[in-house]
Each structure stands twice: as C-alpha cells, then as structure tokens.
C-alpha cells in the first residue's frame, strides 16, 4: 500500500514536471499570440484595434507574470477576470485549466476546444502507431531470435546489413523516395496522400488499408531494425551463457532450450523497449504525417508550432508525455511478468 502511494506520488511529480517544462518552453517562444490573433492569413493587412488586443491579453492572462499563467493553466481554478470568486474573479467561469480537463481553446479558431481536437487527431495517429508497433514486433522478434541463434551465418550477415541500413536511413528521405517510386508519378502502386481516396467516402477498408501501407512502413522500419538488433544481441548473449550450456548438458531437448530458456529470457530486454517504441512512433508521426498529409496529431502539432498555437502544442506535448509514461509503466509490468528471477525464483 505504501509503495503504491509512493509510486503514484512520484508519477504525479513527474507529470507536474512534464507540464511545467512544456509550459515554460511554450511561453518562452517568440511571437505574441495576441498579435497573432489579429493577423490575417493573407497579405492583406489592416489596422488592428489596440484596445481589442489589450482585452485579448487580459482575457488570456498574457499580461500576468509567468507563475500566475502557469497556475491558471494548471487549474482547476480559473484565474482570469471571469474566474472563480474565491480568487477575485467574477465567478462566471470558475473552473478551468488542465486539472479541470480543459486545455483551452485555439487562439485563431476560438470555437475549437483543444482537448477534443487533440483526442480526435489522436484517433488517427494512435491506430497507425499501434499498427506500426505491432508490425515492428511481429517482424523484429523472430528475425532477431533467428539471427541470434544462427550467428555468423550468411542469413545473419545479410539480414544484419539490411537492418543496419534501415537503422541509418532517415525517415523523411525514405518517405520521399517511396512517394516518388510507388506513387502516381512512379509505378503507381499505392496512394500517397491522406487516408481516403475521393471515391470512398465511408467504409471501404481496402481503400484505407492501401493508404495506410506507406505511412506504416515508414513509421515502423526503424523500429524493426532497432528491436531486431536488440533481440539478436540478447539471444546471442543468452545462447552462449552458462545456464543454457547447463541446460543442454542436462539433456534438455533443443526445442525446449530455445523456447523456454533462450527466447523467454531474451524477451526481457525487448519488453523494456515497449515503453520506448511508442514515443518513437509518435515522434516519427510528425514527419510521416506531414509528408503523407495525414490529419493526425503529428501534423496538428507541427501546424500548431508554425501557427504559434501555444496551447495546442503544449497539449500535444503533454498528451504524448502521458502516453510515454503509460508505455514505460506497461513495460515495467511486462518485465516483472517475464523476468524469470521474479517468476521462477532462482536461476
């Protein structure tokens, strides 16, 4: 019970730190959102009312010190002039901030709330990322084990060279090449734009699948390389370790040696990567979604960065941070399940 409490306290502290870093980073950015609000998209420019500008700044607390802005941002009390009575507001809008589940509204589209928007975008990014992670594990684990068991074979050498190549190829370059090669101006095998073609307004899983192929390949190939390399190293290490030799000496069947002793143990480091693969994929989605024009969170984050939508960027950073923390927790759990020292008691 105590350890549980301690753990959750620590997790809360980490979360707070995460929010603080995201917040400070974004408030330090140049480009005043108030100014931005009153800029048009076209080069057509007109005089903005200075009064409206001042009002906007005070509504969004942009004229207050940084720590007040942070508290306002964190919530659950709204500190703006319309905020909670207790804190000197008018009381028309008492709650707000992250703790009230409120990530604010976009500056430029005041009718868009950020929290649902990010969730919506996430519903595009997350399936892609999960599929890529699945693909990566499904390919990389057997590959790594195979390589590790057949070290120095021709297969090992060639497949290692290939994974090394994949490890080193920059994702945007691969994406551009694939677009050129397989897109309509090349072999015309696969669509390269968005997730839907115009002829498939709804349903149409085949269409969706065809659109998702290239993004998933681009997202996953680097992870395949990393995981298989890790898996190979782990397999090789365990295969030559004393307890495997001992098991073989005891006359345990080879198949059992491989599955029970080697693979299971080699999976332990691979599970630690579960927590890391998801953040890589989410990070990679910034590039992949931009290149393939997929309206997911990565593209949203980049566009928000370019438009100086501080609150939206902060929301993306925080959401991905929380997902990463969850991934790390998951890999902890998996590890404690798989670790023979925990399970078997002794080796």
């Amino acid at each position: 019970m105590r350890t549980l409490l301690l753990r959750s306290l620590r997790a809360c502290a980490t979360l707070l730190g995460l929010v603080a870093i995201a917040f400070v980073l974004l408030r330090l950015a140049p480009g005043d959102p108030a100014q931005l609000r009153f800029a048009s998209d076209d080069a057509v420019d007109s005089g903005a009312a200075a009064e409206a500008l001042v009002r906007f700044r005070s509504e969004h607390l942009l004229d207050r010190p940084l720590h007040v802005q942070f508290l306002h941002y964190l919530g659950p009390f709204d500190l703006s002039p319309a905020g909670h009575r207790l804190l000197g507001g008018s009381g028309s809008q008492p709650w707000g901030g992250l703790l009230a589940g409120d990530f604010g509204r976009e500056y430029l589209r005041p009718d868009v709330e950020i929290a649902p928007e990010v969730l919506r975008r996430l519903s595009v990014t997350l399936p892609l990322a999960l599929l890529s992670a699945l693909l990566a594990y499904a390919l990389a684990l057997p590959l790594g084990v195979w390589q590790g068991l057949r070290r120095s074979s021709a297969f090992d050498r060639w497949s290692r060279a290939l994974t090394l190549l994949a490890y080193c190829a920059p994702v945007f370059w691969v994406a551009l090449l694939l677009q050129e090669l397989l897109g309509p101006s090349g072999l015309d095998w696969l669509p390269i734009l968005g997730l839907r073609s115009r002829t498939a307004p709804s349903g149409g899983w085949g269409d969706l699948a065809a659109h998702a192929v290239l993004p998933i390949v681009c997202l996953s190939y680097a992870s395949i390389a990393t995981i298989s390399r890790q898996m190979r190293a782990a397999t090789a290490e365990i295969a030559s370790s004393d307890f495997v030799l001992a098991a073989r000496a005891r006359g345990v069947r080879e198949r059992a040696v491989i599955w029970r002793h080697i693979v299971r143990n080699a999976l332990v480091p691979a599970t630690t990567m579960v927590g890391q693969v998801l953040p890589w994929l989410v990070g990679g989605s910034v590039i992949v979604e931009t290149v393939f024009e997929i309206p997911g969170m990565g593209k949203y984050a980049l566009e928000s960065l370019q438009r100086r939508e501080y609150d939206a960027v902060a929301a993306c950073v925080i959401v991905t941070g929380v997902m990463t923390l969850a991934g790390l927790r998951l890999s902890d759990v998996l590890q404690s399940r798989l670790d023979p020292r925990v399970r078997d008691g002794a080796v």
Binding site: P30, G31, D32, P33, Q35, L36, R37, F38, A39, S40, D41, D42, A43, V44, D45, S46, G47, A48, A49, A50, E51, A52, R55, R105, L108, R109, P110, D111, V112, R120, R121, Q179, G183, P184, S185, D188, P191, I192, L193, G194, L195, R196, S197, R198, T290, V291, E293, P295, Y300, E303, Q306, R307, R308
Partner: protein, 619 residues
C-alpha cells in the same frame, strides 16, 4: 459605369498575344473563352457540350479556413469557399469587374445634398442653373415623394453616390429554411460596429457607413458618409449573416435575450458553432468540415439555374504540400488546383500520367510580390539608397527562371489592367553598376575594405523578412543576397513563421519584408501610403509620408469619374515608383491544373479567378 480595364482584358501578355496558336492549349484565344487552355478544344470551332447536373468535384485548398464566417475570417480560402456556400448583395463579373446583382434584385444609387443647416436631402441631383433639383429615385418610404428644388445658396455641399437602396431577390432562403431578410444584412453592419467582435480585418470597410435601415421586407438602404469611388464595392461585398442564429437580441432568435450587452453578443458571435458549421444562402450547403476537407452539396434555395451550380457536391480538399497537389491531380484525387509548382507546371505536358487526366493553364488576379522597406531605418530613409537596392534586384532573372516567363514586372501594387495603372512606366533595369554609383552618391563607400559599403562606421546591412517555407520568397531572396553583395550591400534572410513576420512588421521591427500583396481589383492606396496610416500597427508598413501624396490620395478617393481618377492614380504611381518605398516585383501567376472532365472552366482577373458554380462534368 465605364469599364476601365475591359479594353485591355487579357492582362497584358505580349508573348502570347503575338504568337500563333500553340499545339497544346489555346492561350491565344480571347481571354474570356471557356476552356481556352484545354488541349483538344477550340471554342471558335467546337461548341461546349450542354451542361448537366451531377457529380462531385474536388478542389485543392492549401489550408483549411479557420472558420467560415466571412466577417470573422477574411482569408482567401474562406472567400473561395464562401463564394459557393454564400452570397453577396452584388457580384463582380469575372472578367470586367462590373457589379451585377446577386442577392440583390436591383439597386439604386442616389446623391446627398447637405443644406447649410446640416439637413440632408437625398435623391438624384440635377443641376439646373442656380438651383439643384433633387429627384427621388428609390422607393419605398422615401422622404421625398416628389422632386424638390433647392437654391444653390442654401447648399453647403453635395456628395454624389452616397445613398444605396437595394431590393432583394425574392425566394432566397437560408440553408436551414428561414427566408433571407433585410435584417440579415443590417446585422453584419451592426456587428462590425461592436469592437469586441473579432472582425478587425473587415471593420474598416464599414466604418464609413453611417446609417443603414430596413425599408420593408425586401428593401434596405445604406448611407455612406462621403463621396467615395469605392462605395459600391463595399456594398457589393456585404454578406448577410443569419439573424435567427447570430443575433441574440433579435425576436427571430429562438433564445432571444433583448437585454444582452454588446459584449455578450460579441462573445456569442465569436464562439458560435455556426462559424464552422456554416449556414449560408448560396447554392451549396455545408455538409462536412473535417480535418481533411470541407464538403458541400447542392440545395435548391431559390437560385436561378445559371447560378445554381451543376455539381451535386463540391469538396475542398486540404493538401498542404503543393508538390503533392500535382500528384493528386495525376491520381485523379483532385480535379482542380491553382497552386502547381513551376517545375510541375512545365513538365505536365510531357507527362503521360498527367495529360491523360488533366491539363494546365494560367491566369492572373491582382497580386504582386514586393519588398517593403522600413523608412524609419536611417539607412533606408534615403530614396537614392532604395533606388540602388531596386537596381540591384534581378527580377528579370527570376521571371525567366523561376516563373519561366509567366510573371511580369509591375510598377505598382494595384491591378495593372485598369485606367489607374500606367503601363508606360518602365520598371527599373537590373544594373549593379548603377546601384553602386547611386550608393556612392549617397555617401556609401567601402571604407574598411570588407566588401560592403559603409557610412558613419556602419556597414549597409539589411535583413529582409519572408515567410518560412514560402518557396518564391526563399528563392528570390537567396538570389537577391548574391546580387546585393555585388553591389556591396549585405543581406540577411529572415525566414520566419508568418505570425512572427506579422508581429515584427506591426511593431516596425524590420528593415525589409518580402510579401505578395493581394489587392481587390479596384483598390484604394490610402491604407498603404497615406500619412494618417503611419504608426505602429497600421497598414502603412513603410511609414511613408509625403504631403503631396496624401493630397493626391484624398482627391482621387472622392473622384467618381474613372478617367480623371485614373489620371490621378497614374500620377500617384509614378510618384511612388520614384520613391521606391516598395521594391516592386512581379505579377505572380496562378498556375492551375484542371481535370479533363471539367467543362466550361473560365479564368479571369477578378478574385479568386474562377467560378466553380459555372463548371460541370459531361461524363
């Protein structure tokens, strides 16, 4: 109204006018001809197939609108989409720019006669010897039922073209079924007067409408406070807003609260969900606004067939990367784009993937690139220095390589086909030697031998801002950096995000800024050049001020005669070009690609250059 630019309608394009018809496309045709760029079609020989209803057209947009309320979001994308989803009182003809009624059925323009006791009479003014005859033209409920005569001695001043009475087309309905009413137009005007409503980009348009009133269920009247050449354009662009949705205080509103304050109303309007889920009066009704596209379908809300649209639905598809738009056109994902990259545009005709599905063409709307100098910077305050900077600009090289001859040099930012543009004024040549000589004349020598000229111990070093990712800007400035260095001027390229650029220009924290200026076909130079617009945040970004220019602007603004106003504007143009507060660049082409399935595609100079509702599929 005379059409100043009708006589020179093809926007001055000598290269194509004199050349024989090309093997592909019919660019040499009359610019107003439909499908004139289509390779297999010659409108002089072939007849257009008969229009048919049906099909879904997909049109490329480079960004999705923030929202679709024209009052709150004045971006080009919003304008393009609203053109089909919504309507204005008047519409400009695509080629001539002449106003024709759209939501209005007819309209009457009258003059104001101000008496010495500040009483105002309006009606058509006819001069009769020592008297003015005021003849009421518009009905109903005109103050004057018959013509009156006023002795000239009693008249303080006359203001022509200041009272507009519109009669609405009957049978137009909002997409939710409510009828279009005069209140809807008045609402736009009233909202624009509330400072809390976020419409700063539109507000100035309405600031001279001093009064507006509803006359009956189909008529409304606006009063302009002064004689102004562009008054018709202000009313022409006036879009209605649905009173029963936006006006919290109106009895038509389902939850009407007549006591709501301006502030509450403004907040209600600013954050109203209908800003995205737009309810308009156009022939197309919004059905979906997603992260990838905006889609609308045709509804019958009382539009006559030529304005009612032929496609069953229109989708505006977001593709941020223009290079991908070309491929999307090849793949048949989109039917129309105006943003083909130069390389793609020129390789299109030899790309079988492309020619089997689409064709390319180009047109111009009034938009020109330029560098605006900050005249508050001491080194840029001297016109000789600015002229030298212009002489060291290789615009011609840019036209030939980057635009491959599709762009033309301009000497003013406004439309170059009108009477107010002096086409005789030759742009400055690219001449580094002369630039150096001019700099020396202004006292700039390379005193310390570092390759850059200097004066008072400071090198001539400027930073030019451009929007990061703007291809044309980045290409141009990198070339400019080299040619300026040859003239001994150091250039730093400030490729910054658009919001940062806007902020720095507003705060006047810049040396130069590269932009593309999109102007209406009939534009008022006052915003850019009048000294009353000097000051942080206002539109005269160069801080240019000269009394004679102010006078020219003021006089020309109230001149209603096109020929006389044109002459003044041309003088203004020559004056401004000599000042070189802007380093004027080129008229930027729209390079479009269109699917072969589209028919009746006409492209012209009035923004946005095409009308989707005229097009149709034949298959």
């Amino acid at each position: 109204m005379a059409l100043p630019w009708a006589s020179s309608c093809s926007p001055s394009e000598p290269a194509t006018e004199s050349s024989p018809p090309r093997t592909s496309g019919n660019a040499a045709l009359d610019a107003t001809a439909p499908d004139r760029f289509r390779p297999d079609f010659d409108p002089r020989r072939d007849a257009l197939p008969a229009p048919r209803r049906g099909g879904k057209v997909v049109i490329h947009v480079e960004a999705l609108p923030r929202q679709l309320n024209y009052l709150l979001d004045n971006s080009g994308v919003t304008r393009r989409i609203l053109q089909e989803l919504h309507g204005t009182l008047l519409e400009r003809d695509l080629f001539t720019g002449v106003h024709r009624p759209l939501l209005a059925d007819s309209w009457v323009v009258e003059d104001t006669l101000v008496l010495r006791d500040e009483r105002r009479l309006y009606g058509e003014l006819v001069e009769q010897g020592e008297r003015w005859l005021v003849v009421p033209r518009s009905t109903p409920s005109h103050e004057l039922s018959a013509a009156v005569e006023v002795p000239k001695a009693d008249v303080a001043r006359i203001e022509r073209g200041t009272v507009y009475t519109f009669r609405l087309r009957s049978g137009i309905h909002w997409h939710d079924g409510a009828p279009l009413r005069p209140e809807d137009f008045l609402l736009t005007w009233r909202l624009a007067r509330i400072p809390q409503v976020r419409c700063d980009e539109k507000r100035f348009e309405f600031e001279h409408i001093v009064h507006a009133e509803k006359l009956d269920e189909r008529s409304l009247r606006f009063f302009y406070d002064r004689q102004y050449f562009g008054a018709a354009a202000v009313f022409g662009a006036l879009t209605p807003l649905p009173t029963h949705i936006y006006d919290l205080r109106a009895p038509q509103h389902p939850n009407a609260r007549p006591e709501a304050t301006d502030e509450e109303l403004a907040r209600y309007v600013n954050e109203h969900p209908a800003n995205r889920n737009w309810i308009g009066v156009g022939p197309y009704r919004l059905v979906e606004f997603s992260d990838e596209y905006v889609e609308a379908e045709r509804v019958d809300m009382g539009w006559p067939s030529q304005d009612g649209g032929w496609f069953d639905s229109i989708r505006w598809r977001l593709i941020t990367d223009d290079a991908l738009a070309y491929r999307a056109l090849c793949a048949g994902e989109i039917d129309f784009t105006t943003r083909l990259l130069s390389d793609d545009f020129f390789r299109a005709n030899s790309d079988r993937e492309f020619t089997s599905r689409a064709y390319v063409g180009h047109f111009y709307t009034p938009r020109a690139s330029y560098i605006g100098w900050n005249l508050r910077r001491p080194q840029l305050a001297d016109a000789r220095v600015r002229t030298a900077l212009a002489l060291a600009t290789d615009w011609d090289g840019l036209v030939q390589s980057f635009y491959r001859g599709l762009a033309q040099r301009v000497t003013a930012e406004w439309f170059d086909g009108g009477l107010d543009y002096d086409r005789e004024l030759a742009p400055l040549p690219f001449d580094v030697e002369r630039a150096r000589a001019l700099l020396a004349e202004a006292g700039w020598y390379d005193r310390d031998g570092d390759g850059f000229v200097d004066r008072d111990g400071k090198p001539l070093s400027i930073e030019i801002l451009t929007q990061a990712g703007s291809r044309a800007g980045e290409v141009f400035l990198q070339r400019y950096q080299e040619t300026l260095a040859q003239a001994g001027v150091r250039l730093d390229i400030g490729a910054v995000a658009w919001p940062v650029l806007i902020e720095r220009v507003r705060e006047r924290e810049f040396d130069g800024v590269y932009k593309v200026w999109v102007v209406p076909i009939q534009s008022d130079p006052a915003q850019r050049w009048h000294s009353r617009e000097v000051g942080t945040g206002s539109a005269n970004e160069t801080s240019f001020s000269a009394p004679d220019v102010d006078r020219l602007i003021d006089v020309s603004a109230s001149e209603l005669d096109d020929a006389r106003r044109g002459a003044m504007c041309r003088e203004l143009q020559r004056r401004l070009y000599a000042e070189q507060a802007y380093n004027y660049g080129v008229k930027v082409p729209h390079r479009f690609g269109a699917s072969l399935r589209l028919r009746n595609v006409r492209v012209g100079p009035v923004d946005p250059g095409f009308r989707v509702r005229e097009w149709y599929f034949v298959d």
